[in-house]
């Protein structure tokens, strides 16, 4: 069993072309996708570095709060302009990414005023985020205002209270709440570290390329059947099931080796953090390796020709990778596809890795790892039942 597994590992290690494809391709894709789409997974906010120009003619309390307290953060730099024309020129000269023109008396008449947001056509995402931040601020100020009105009304009805000073105090508190951070969209939930684009695509590409081992493992069985080495093994004293387990382990070891090298490469070259717990990363990696290797045995038992496995593998892996969130985050899918993705092992692996990256407990990892292990072992068992050595 071990001899077969180690022989398979050695054969795949010797296949330099395959090795380069399986190792360099995911690294390259991680670099491309992580860099290109990384902004969507900002570590501290949801947007890339942006210069926002704001034109206003009157500085009241609300305008000042939004321009100087709410809007600026690590990624957003605010530049003030006296009028819309200056702002337009700056936008054309690309001195700013997004321009916001606040109308007269905006601070007093937020709900009735129309704010103009201009942008460079290439930076619509930043513009829509700035617009969201503005809308969010307006909504909260209106809530504060409505709350203050109710408070003043109730206090007045009670009598014996200095309504003006009490309302002023409440307004100050609520204003602080309205102006507090929270306007930026964060990728992480409470208590978790945030996820960068590079981290997401490192996990996504790692998961996708490990999935290719399902077809490589199945192909190895079909090749051995074709060249009769499998039949020759069957003529030795080793029984068929350990032979299949040996083939399964060969795929598992190669998957783990590939994953380990990929993990080290992404850590060294792209500074990707795979989380605080190496044990958890390993647990998800091994469980996913078992799932992929089991799938390989299953495929080998139902497909007869090497050409078929190449075709099925090429298309199948890409479809599974797409549905599993390796190309686009699953959250962007319609509900039906999100439901379908629950039946796909690479989805659980990606979820597992992302959980580990953002900080999770062992208890939370029980579900994805158990599902992956169960899937892999079930496939191995079913494959072994059906698979013929010659």
């Amino acid at each position: 069993m071990w001899t077969i597994a180690m022989k398979d590992l050695r054969l795949r290690w010797k296949d330099k072309r395959g090795l380069i494809t399986m190792l360099l391709m995911p690294i390259l894709l991680t670099a491309i996708l992580g860099s290109a789409l990384g902004g969507n997974f900002g570590e501290d906010s949801s947007m890339p570095d942006t210069v926002v120009g704001v034109a206003f003619d009157e500085v009241d309390q609300m305008t000042d709060q939004w321009v100087n307290e709410v809007l600026p953060n690590d990624e957003v730099t605010v530049t003030a302009f006296e009028n819309g024309q200056e702002l337009e020129v700056a936008l054309q000269e690309k001195a700013i990414d997004v321009g916001v023109v606040l109308p007269e008396n905006w601070g007093q008449q937020m709900s009735e005023s129309e704010v103009k947001v201009w942008t460079d056509p290439e930076k619509t995402i930043q513009a829509s985020i700035v617009h969201s931040m503005l809308t969010s601020f307006v909504d909260r100020i209106q809530s504060v205002s409505a709350t203050a009105n109710v408070f003043a009304f109730e206090m007045g009805a009670e009598g014996g209270v200095d309504v003006e000073s009490a309302t002023e105090e409440v307004m100050a508190d609520l204003r602080a709440v309205a102006g507090a951070e929270g306007t930026s969209v964060r990728a992480a939930e409470e208590g978790q570290a945030s996820l960068t684009g590079m981290q997401y695509y490192a996990a996504a590409m790692g998961v996708m390329f490990i999935l290719f081992n399902a077809t490589i493992g199945a192909r190895s069985v079909l090749e051995e059947r074709h060249t009769q080495t499998l039949a020759r093994i069957a003529m030795t004293p080793i029984r068929p099931f350990p032979v299949m387990v040996g083939k399964f382990l060969g795929t598992l070891f190669y998957s783990l080796l590939q994953f380990l090298l990929f993990l080290i490469a992404t850590y060294l070259f792209f500074d990707v953090s795979w989380g605080e717990s190496p044990g958890q990363v390993l647990a998800v990696g091994v469980a996913y390796g078992v799932a992929v290797s089991g799938l390989a045995m299953m495929l080998a038992s139902v497909i007869k020709e090497e050409k078929t496995i190449d075709a099925v593998g090429g298309i199948g892996v890409q479809v599974l990778a797409l549905l599993g969130g390796s190309m686009i985050p699953i959250a962007a899918f319609p509900d039906i596809l999100q439901t379908v993705s629950n039946a796909i092992p690479n989805k659980w692996a990606l979820d597992g890795f992302i959980s580990v990256m953002t900080g999770t407990t062992w208890t939370e990892l029980i579900l994805p790892t158990s599902l992956l292990l169960a899937f892999g072992l079930l496939c191995l068992w079913m494959g072994s039942m059906r698979l013929k050595l010659q």
């Binding site: 001899t3 077969i4 022989k7 050695r10 054969l11 010797k14 296949d15 060249t227 009769q228 080495t229 039949a231 020759r232 093994i233 069957a234 003529m235 030795t236 004293p237 080793i238 029984r239 050595l389 010659q390």
Partner: protein, 308 residues
């Protein structure tokens, strides 16, 4: 040592092995001779445990063959069942380990086996760089790694050059001289004649004759074959030849106008045949006399050539 009794195998409606029986003594070389599709490889596959059998029995030292006994058997399959991207030595090590050899033991034995098959200096080279003959030699070497008591070879010389073939045959002969028992299947009569003490001739899934080469040749009805090439052969003329007192049987190949005539007394028969061809106006363009051999026996038994 090995006894095969009434072995049967059926694929669907087709019975591919029909009541095949033979015995093998220690140190003996037994040849299974027959044309392609005769059932030799299926019989071998059943002995090796690769294919289940529908009837009969295989015994090893008077006990039913079990998978643990496979350790005592070395098998050389018809195909070159090796890993092309691994070196010759790595292949031998792998197959040695599959038969339960320890790592150190396997390493030492691999060097010995490379020496036996004449490739001691090529052990580090990958199989894919070898010629067909060299691959065949490693294919045999892989079966020798665990020093089996019985070596089963299924057409081990298919598709190789004469030089490699001779080397393989000499190696196998040497192994047999050293006491290794073997079963050798082939459709090359001369290989079986060279290597084997006893021969079983198979056709259409049956052993149609079995015994030592001498016994089998004596069984020829009329020990000698006269090969005729006739132009303008006619039915009445051929019937006349068949009815000659010195002639026992005729096998014909109408496409090449060739006729194999089995005779008891060649001198007398040649004279009679020539007179008959003249009488029936058939033009005799070629005549030759063949000593009795396994090929002629097969021809007599089946009416076909071994390589048909």
């Amino acid at each position: 040592m090995l006894q095969v009794s009434e072995l049967k195998k059926r694929y669907g409606q087709k019975e591919v092995v029909k009541n095949v029986s033979f015995k093998l003594k220690e140190g003996e070389a037994f040849g299974l001779l027959g044309p392609n599709g005769a059932g030799k490889s299926t019989t071998i596959a059943m002995i090796c445990g690769l294919v289940s059998y529908d009837g009969g029995q295989i015994s090893w030292h008077d006990k039913p063959m079990t998978s643990s006994m496979k350790k005592k058997v070395g098998i050389v399959p018809q195909e070159i069942a090796l890993y092309p991207t691994m070196s010759a030595k790595e292949n031998l090590l792998f197959w040695g380990r599959m038969y339960g050899l320890k790592r150190k033991e396997a390493k030492k034995r691999a060097d010995d086996v490379l020496d036996i098959v004449g490739l001691k200096d090529r052990g580090k080279e990958t199989i894919e760089t070898f010629s067909g003959g060299m691959k065949r030699r490693i294919n045999i070497g892989a079966a020798l790694m665990h020093e089996p008591e019985l070596l089963i070879m299924d057409e081990p010389t298919v598709g190789i050059d004469p030089q490699s073939r001779n080397h393989i045959l000499e190696t196998v002969k040497q192994l047999n001289r050293q006491g290794m028992t073997m079963i050798y299947t082939s459709h090359y009569m001369e290989e079986v004649e060279f290597l084997c003490d006893r021969v079983g001739i198979m056709d259409h899934g049956e052993v149609i004759a079995s015994g030592t080469q001498k016994d089998l040749c004596q069984r020829l009805i009329g020990g000698t074959v006269i090969r005729l090439k006739l132009e303008g052969a006619n039915e009445s003329g051929m019937q006349a030849i068949q009815q000659l007192a010195s002639v026992n049987q005729i096998a014909s190949d109408p496409e090449s106008n060739t006729y194999e005539v089995f005779v008891k007394r060649p001198d007398e028969a040649i004279s009679d045949i020539m007179d008959t061809t003249v009488e029936y106006r058939m033009k005799l363009s070629e005549i030759s006399v063949q000593e009795p051999n396994l090929e002629s026996l097969f021809l007599q038994l089946t009416g076909r050539s071994l390589r048909d």
